[in-house]
Subunit: 361 residues, 2 copies
Amino acid sequence: MSQSGSVVGGPTIVDADVHEGLKSIRDLLPHLDPKWHNHITQYGWQGPANPLPYVVLSGEDGTRIDWMLEDKSMRGSDLNLMRKHLFEGEQITVGILNGDFRPSTMQGWHEFAADLAAAYNDWQIAVWLDPEPRLRGAIHVASHDPQIAAREIDRLGQHPQIVQAFLPAINDREYGDPYYLPIFEAAVRNDLAVTLHHCGHTRSALGYPRYQIEWHATAIPQTMMCQLASMICNGVFDRFPELKVVVLESGFTWIPHFMWRMDEHFRSLRVEIPWVKRKPSDILRAQVRVSTQPAETLSKRQFLGLLDQMETEDMLVFSTDYPHWDSDSPSRALPAGLPDGLQQKILSGNAVAAFGPRLLP
Amino acid sequence: MSQSGSVVGGPTIVDADVHEGLKSIRDLLPHLDPKWHNHITQYGWQGPANPLPYVVLSGEDGTRIDWMLEDKSMRGSDLNLMRKHLFEGEQITVGILNGDFRPSTMQGWHEFAADLAAAYNDWQIAVWLDPEPRLRGAIHVASHDPQIAAREIDRLGQHPQIVQAFLPAINDREYGDPYYLPIFEAAVRNDLAVTLHHCGHTRSALGYPRYQIEWHATAIPQTMMCQLASMICNGVFDRFPELKVVVLESGFTWIPHFMWRMDEHFRSLRVEIPWVKRKPSDILRAQVRVSTQPAETLSKRQFLGLLDQMETEDMLVFSTDYPHWDSDSPSRALPAGLPDGLQQKILSGNAVAAFGPRLLP
């Protein structure tokens, strides 16, 4: 090569952007500090494009080890195993499906997301609800396009085993914003609850903090408080007094704080939102339900103290979070020795009141 | 003008970007729906570039109406009035200044921010601390540059009336990140508490929601929980067991929830953070203090129930938030009938333990 860069017989060509590829993240194992290996070999971390930067120390994709399929395929993807684990093992009477497939989280390509949601809903009915009368289902939507989402809710909203319209909590969508009203309208006209669930796109006030402990302890309950504040302040509950919103997998110890704090600011700043006629805690007690998992380890006294602070026994509905690693069992999630009537409300009565008669066997 | 755009005697010139200017946001009043007028004429809203999109229904810049200066100049900017309101009116013995000037919130131009912080600190000493022995002060820093911030803390950290290094809670800074360690190191070597306070840049998990009620009820406590989780998980409290962090103006009803939730996830996920040796609630009880304002309206039973859930009487320190519209009075912030010893801890004992002997008169 000459100094000027030419070679004999042709010009010199430098390509400054060539992409080599890992066949699998496992290709890095021989080069990676061994303390990280089991996150990849056992716990299923897929690479930097994982929706969450974290991985939990459990079966692939967060499944509880003893609930994994033998071939380690997708968690919860076998009806017979679910029957064995949930209906036999945990003695559940009725299970409400929430899946793990979230077309709403696709940040672009709305039309594909909407048709994926519809395909998933049809698959859910064919593969889970039709063969198993103890299961109830959700209508998944692409929440970025509320008009199309409402049509999907209307398409399946009268199915006898469908009990909810499902919204993943994504932090750049304030579901109280009037933009999303068609979703709530469609849910109400089909006698469906609206359920909120976190997802890999759920962030805390700091975004994705450095550790999963932080993310789990802050992002999930905080985003739910924000979404409820948004729905309260934008008048969603006043517009639809028959609406029930069920917050899933977010715990419940935040409720008294959230009630007091919202009431306090409503007292001083309600002039901002004259369309809201009841104080926030009254709205929450009347129209919001919260599933119990992950139930923090509380004594009976602490648990009853929380219900006393909430001033209602109607808000909590039991859930396992099957098949995840931190799943709760109905025999252990609640403190021992609760009054029978209260226990029965949490295990079933409150859910029937929230989701309506379609929930009954 | 001809069809081609030329004029007689010269070329046609179109300037597509010319900026006219409002002399004041008040120029819009004749054109603005009257229901908004008092936000501008009475409550001091300055225009779309306000750090917060909201304004409170109070004196200019959020000052309590009866604490405004006669000439409506900047709130709290008159020492004699502060003496009258705070030391005479509210019977405060020692007041800790936190100001409203936040060089840390300048998102660029770090060197100017750092020198502004130093100038503010010197002004604070000359104008407030020197003439008034009942006041204590803060070292303000530009937290984006922790090395320069640490030098500023060392420059003034031995002043007999300085009791804290002050950090505004900004959501793109996780103060537990090792990047910020020099700030904590400098505070500890100067026997100063580190205080956290929200600012106009404090956001909720949804950013800036539509209404101030939402922002106030979610952004402030959520950001504080996130910052504490960050400091806990990154080992700040383990590295500096003598450090006290005081969370200001964020309420306190979130503490039991935050303790339970953090402990629950620490139990299952502590392998992520092996350098953290105590459970989060133990760290919080030992090293974190929380000022009482804004104290939600709680009955004595509810208030004592919360302390019972915290399992300590040591965490709360009284504050007024002078001179803001939602200021708390020592005679009304706490429920009536608290045990004398507890009341005295909250009104002074816990603060002296947190800020050290320099707090004493």
